[in-house]
């Protein structure tokens, strides 16, 4: 997806500097595979955590949003796109067929939202 005005940042895990990136944007979508939850994906708002936790191996999107607000006075609105995956314990270089289908569905859902910056419209169907 090369959509004007959209920054894509691929990372292994969330970290504190993600908060600085969040602060430079109006809307932030945390997209990742989910080990459980609805198929093909869930899409829901991510609110800043009031009393977050932090470790360098584990930081939740809510904590990133909280840090962005507290440290950088960020007003960004956050959302999560949790795409259901399945074969997390298998060693392999490709996604399972079902996960690939879910990914395609997630992309189909998110692309127009990003294209039109339509996060505030009532037409968004929150799956969760």
């Amino acid at each position: 997806m090369a959509i004007p005005g959209v920054t894509v940042d691929a990372d292994y895990q969330l970290s504190i500097e993600t908060a600085a990136a969040v602060a430079q944007h109006e809307y932030v979508v945390f997209a990742d595979a989910s080990v459980a939850g609805p198929e093909p994906f869930a899409f829901y708002p991510v609110h800043p955590a009031a009393q977050g936790t932090f470790s360098t191996h584990l930081i939740e999107p809510e904590d990133v949003m909280g840090m962005a607000r507290d440290l950088f006075q960020a007003k960004a609105k956050g959302y999560a796109l949790a795409i259901r995956g399945y074969a997390f314990h298998d060693f392999g270089e490709t996604l399972s067929d079902k996960a690939l289908q879910n990914l395609a569905a997630g992309l189909e859902f998110i692309a127009p939202l990003l294209q039109d910056c339509a996060f505030d419209t009532a037409s968004i169907q929150y799956v969760r």
């Binding site: 500097e17 600085a20 936790t53 470790s55 840090m67 507290d70 950088f72």
Partner: protein
């Protein structure tokens, strides 16, 4: 009929918060309820050395980064240094070596900044006994927002350096056997130069906090996880600190040489590893001294202790003050790791600045090859200490043997000693107080351990404390943080 001696009473702390990975602490009491021994258990499974077998050698510098999301660059560079030798390309071009050094100092900067500002500063700023709900990075962000922002921005700067040199912030592909696959563009260089003086200023601010804290509390810290040890690090031929390349030096607790300028290709003639049944993490030691006397510290404290000087002006001034004010080297105070780490933070920022002014970074001669080898060792001074990667490759280019001694593993015995020292001084009776809990965490955290790295798996962070009597009965249990609360 022989009467069996009573089993030691056990106090278990599991796992440890604000360190990387999953460990637990058991304090063993004797029949007089005195601390007999303390053990830092690593309970995750170690298996990476097996996973790597059968993979083509050129994949290894990328694959091994999956060991850890915290210091992938160190694994990337240690592995590629070994693979340089496998392809006979260890004499890198100036551009390749300087790009790798830039990558490494970027990693050092971001890792040290992250550890200090976001994991350690709560202990130093609020005190060991502060409420854990405040004594964390969120508390720092609320009370000292400027400091928290500096930590974020230093980390971000280091990560951007990594991205520019390795191709990606995490799990990059920049270093390849025999060289590097890109140089630094003028635009990238100028972008970094714009902010480097600010990074240096903030690094000095952090150095001052660590220095002032240590000096202010020097008497207390001398009785907190302080014990004599040997120290091991890489060293340049002229005795300067060199975090990327050099030979091995080991000194004893008085600073006397144990070995010096040892080619690390023969590390196994000097260092061995002991296995203990209660931990997945091995216990390295200097062979000539044996396991009882030969264990050693690595990391910032060992590096500052072992080197003769630092080759950047401001870090060298800080090193001299460190050595002088703590009564001459070697310094054996565990909490002095923080001060030493911040000396290295300044050194890394200076090195980045100097490298950015070096036109070799825009060179185009990136790769060399030579006569193939079947076995090689790569060593680097990772943020947490000396990192060993040792590989054997067969005629089909597949890895057939791999041995890794990661930084935290090198510090295994010192961390156990630190916990034991704290337990002896702060355990009263058999009750685990908040004060004891806090101090055990603080002592372990001084080493900036990555328990995930040391066992090559990822863990969860929380704190569970259990008191178990000699019959195995649970007498007390405390839970704190993360998943531990969700019993």
């Amino acid at each position: 009929m022989a009467i069996a001696a009573p089993a030691p009473r056990k106090i278990i702390i599991e796992p440890v918060t604000r360190v990387e990975g999953h460990g637990k602490v058991t304090i063993l009491l004797d029949e007089k309820k005195q601390v007999q021994q303390a053990r830092l258990h690593i309970v995750e499974f170690r298996g990476f050395e097996r996973f790597i077998q059968g993979r083509p050698f050129w994949e290894v510098p990328v694959l091994v980064q999956r060991l850890c999301g915290i210091c992938p660059v160190s694994h990337h560079l240690a592995a590629v240094k070994a693979m340089d030798r496998i392809v006979g390309g260890e004499n890198l071009t100036p551009t390749a070596e300087k790009m790798r050094r830039l990558m490494h100092y970027g990693q050092m900067l971001q890792s040290h900044a992250l550890h200090f500002f976001h994991l350690v500063s709560p202990d130093l700023l609020f005190g060991f006994d502060a409420d854990p709900t405040i004594r964390n990075v969120i508390g720092v962000a609320k009370r000292f927002p400027d400091l928290a922002v500096q930590g974020v921005m230093l980390r971000k700067y280091g990560q951007e350096i990594i991205k520019a040199t390795a191709g990606k912030k995490i799990h990059g592909t920049g270093a390849i056997p025999g060289g590097i696959n890109k140089n630094l563009s003028i635009a990238e260089r100028d972008g970094f130069l714009k902010d480097i003086e600010q990074m240096l200023t903030w690094s000095h601010g952090a150095l001052k906090i660590a220095r002032d804290y240590t000096l202010e509390h020097v008497k207390d810290l001398a009785g907190f996880g302080t014990f004599d040890s040997n120290h091991v690090s890489l060293i340049r031929a002229d005795g300067a600190m060199d975090l990327y390349h050099g030979n091995l030096r080991a000194i004893d607790p008085r600073g006397k040489s144990i070995f010096d300028q040892v080619d690390y290709q023969r590390y196994f003639d000097y260092v061995a590893e002991e296995v203990k049944p209660w931990s997945y993490m091995k216990f390295p030691f200097i062979k000539s001294l044996g396991p009882e006397q030969g264990w050693y510290r690595v990391g910032p404290l060992a590096r500052v202790n072992a080197c003769d000087f630092i080759d950047t002006k401001e870090a060298e001034a800080a090193r001299q003050e460190f050595v002088k004010l703590l009564g001459g080297k070697p310094v054996n105070v565990s909490m002095a790791y923080h001060w030493a780490r911040m000396v290295e933070l300044v050194h890394s920022a200076e090195k980045i600045r100097d490298l950015l002014h070096d036109p070799d970074l825009q060179g185009t001669d990136l790769l060399v090859t030579g006569v193939r080898r079947r076995e090689a060792v790569g060593l680097i001074e990772a943020p947490r200490g000396t990192l060993f990667h040792h590989y054997e490759v067969n005629e089909h280019d597949q890895v057939v043997r791999c041995n890794l001694i990661v930084s935290t593993t090198n510090n295994n015995t010192p961390m156990n000693r630190a916990v034991e020292d704290v337990a002896r001084n702060f355990l009263s009776g058999t009750e685990i107080t908040e004060g004891l809990l806090n101090r055990i965490e603080v002592a372990i955290r001084a080493y900036d351990p990555c328990l995930s790295c040391a066992t090559h798996a990822m863990g969860q962070m929380a704190l569970i404390v259990e008191v178990v009597d000699c019959d195995g009965r649970l007498l007390d249990r405390k839970a704190r943080g993360g998943g531990a609360d969700a019993e």
